[in-house]
């Protein structure tokens, strides 16, 4: 059983629980490859967060000429902007992860060239 520590003296109404072992799962043949996949995913999220901020900056500058941190935090994209950003996000996700839809099956050093032995 495990327990989550909380930095507060207020009531939490929590119980002990049985921790999962999902962080031990190896899906891609080697634990470090799994870790790289996780790292790429986290980096993708950071890139998208920066891209999204950039969109907000540009929109606000265009509309107001100057911006504050509060304006950035509270910015509400229009329906068209939301749709355009979702499309852009999906394109970025695809660019990052598209390689995983394919399965290589030729070990590079085992093939000198398809025409080599002909």
């Amino acid at each position: 059983m495990a327990k989550i520590e909380v930095k507060s003296n207020r009531k939490t109404y929590t119980s002990e629980f049985t921790p999962a072992d999902t962080d031990r799962g190896v899906f891609l043949g080697h634990p470090q490859i799994d870790s790289l996949f996780s790292a790429v995913s986290a980096l993708g999220a950071e890139v998208w967060a920066l891209r999204r901020r950039m969109h907000v900056h540009e929109s606000l500058l265009e509309k107001h000429g100057s911006i504050t941190k509060e304006m950035i935090q509270k910015y509400e994209p229009t329906e068209a902007e939301t749709k355009a950003m979702a499309d852009e996000r999906n394109e970025i996700v695809k660019n990052i992860f598209d390689g995983f839809t394919r399965r290589g099956d030729i070990v590079y050093s085992s093939s000198l060239h398809p025409m080599h032995d002909k």
């Binding site: 059983m1 495990a2 327990k3 989550i4 909380v6 930095k7 507060s8 207020r10 009531k11 939490t12 109404y13 929590t14 119980s15 002990e16 629980f17 049985t18 921790p19 999962a20 999902t22 962080d23 799962g25 899906f27 891609l28 043949g29 799994d34 996949f37 996780s38 995913s41 986290a42 993708g44 999220a45 950071e46 998208w48 967060a49 999204r52 901020r53 907000v56 950035i72 935090q73 509270k74 910015y75 509400e76 979702a86 996000r89 999906n90 970025i92 996700v93 695809k94 992860f97 598209d98 995983f100 839809t101 394919r102 399965r103 290589g104």
Partner: protein, 398 residues
């Protein structure tokens, strides 16, 4: 909470089944215990920081890719593997055989890994944020605990004595439903970026479910009970459909009902939440006209499920309706290799520990054994339908 938070003047509009309730942004913000003012999206306040929102949005995109192009590539690869074994895609294949055939393929493995990675980053990001401001979020929850409309009841003994099967980290949520004080927050945003792909943001699916929920033949709906109510999305949607009814939501997760009350209270809805086991609700016999349970049974053991059905039969009044919505209440259990592989990932790596027990349960048989007449609602269930509708039970009259 900050002045700017309280001075928000946008209004959220919640469209229930046949009901429209306008609520102030302040109330709605309180509904999720937001601690910063970034405005509203419909009935919910936005997350307190643009970058958290953006990272979550990326993970949502990752999940859409996982369920779209990557799933199609994985299914195509699965068909190739099956072909080499002389198996047609629609043939029945066992769970174990499927894992043996598909488990080492790079594309199928990437499909599984992508979803697991999505879950990991999503929950860790939310948990890290919530705990970095734990006292503020707990203060928001605490402020709502004793505030009406609505109410929440906690069972201190149950916090210590809840059965072990309820204490798992179901769908990899840190601490599960009982271990983290912010389980409700994590469930709410996590399911929206995950399984609902943005659809649950305004309780959309729950409103549809409430609208399609069958009622007793005599039309009387004075008391409603939602079992495994989680963060109360179905319970509040039922309250909007039946505004005169006394609506209760019950869940074994104290942090879940705590958040459910905060949310319902902020929406101005008089819904009562009780921290209790679904198999021991402590309500009187023959008390409810309608009992619902949305995606509860696949998260219980067979022993638990049988106990819950027995409890339903006890608290339901003669002629009352039991309406369970779950993976296999409207479609058959997994049979093809692709269905089995998805079930494998969900069971083993999404910590749906009781999924196979649920799939093997003679659910309709248990309903009948407990005096419920088994029939089907015309509407499809939450997870699609095989065309025969969703199971429902009507308590037989003595």
């Amino acid at each position: 909470m900050t002045d700017s938070f309280l001075n928000l003047n946008r209004r959220g509009v919640f469209l229930g089944a046949g009901a429209t309730v306008a609520i102030s942004a302040t109330k709605a913000a309180a509904a999720t215990g937001a601690i910063d003012a970034r405005g509203m999206i419909g009935i919910y306040p936005r997350l307190p920081d643009i970058d958290i929102e953006s990272r979550g949005d990326f993970l949502l995109g990752m999940n859409i890719f996982h369920g779209g192009e990557l799933a199609r590539a994985a299914q195509a690869r699965g068909r190739e593997i099956l072909k080499t074994k002389g198996i047609e895609p629609n043939d029945s294949v066992s769970f174990d055989d499927t894992v043996a055939m598909f488990g080492n393929d790079p594309v199928l493995s990437a499909w599984a890994k992508t979803r697991s990675t999505h879950q990991y980053h999503k929950y860790r990001m939310l948990q890290n944020h919530l705990h970095s401001r734990a006292d503020e979020y707990l203060a928001a929850l605490e402020a709502a605990d004793t505030k009406g409309p609505g109410a929440v009841e906690f069972d201190q003994a149950l916090i210590k004595s809840a059965p072990e099967y309820t204490r798992r980290e179901i769908h990899t949520q840190p601490g599960g439903y009982v271990g983290d004080p912010f389980a409700g927050y994590m469930y709410r945003y996590g399911t929206d970026w995950g399984v609902q792909n943005g659809r649950s943001y305004q309780d959309g699916g729950h409103k549809d479910m409430a609208g399609a929920t069958p009622i007793p033949a005599d039309g009387k709906v004075k008391r409603v009970l939602d079992l495994g109510t989680s963060i109360g999305q179905y319970a509040t949607s039922l309250k909007l459909r039946f505004p005169e009814a006394e609506v209760w939501g019950v869940d074994v997760g104290a942090p879940m009902v705590r958040y459910a009350h905060l949310k319902a209270n902020g929406m101005g809805l008089d819904v009562k939440f009780r921290h209790a086991l679904a198999e021991d609700t402590k309500f009187p016999d023959n008390h409810f006209d309608l009992v619902t349970a949305n995606i509860l049974f696949h998260e219980t053991t067979q022993v638990g499920a049988k106990g819950i059905i027995k409890e339903v039969a006890r608290v339901l009044r003669p002629g009352g309706v039991f309406y369970p919505l779950d993976f296999y209440t409207s479609r058959p259990a997994p049979r093809t290799a692709w269905e089995q592989f998805a079930a494998f990932w969900n069971h083993r790596w999404n910590i749906e520990d009781w999924m196979l027990e649920y799939a093997a349960l003679d659910f309709n048989g248990e309903l009948a054994k407990n005096g419920l007449e088994v029939t089907r609602n015309k509407g499809g269930g939450m997870y699609g339908s095989d065309g025969s509708g969703n199971v429902m039970g009507i308590k037989k009259k003595a």
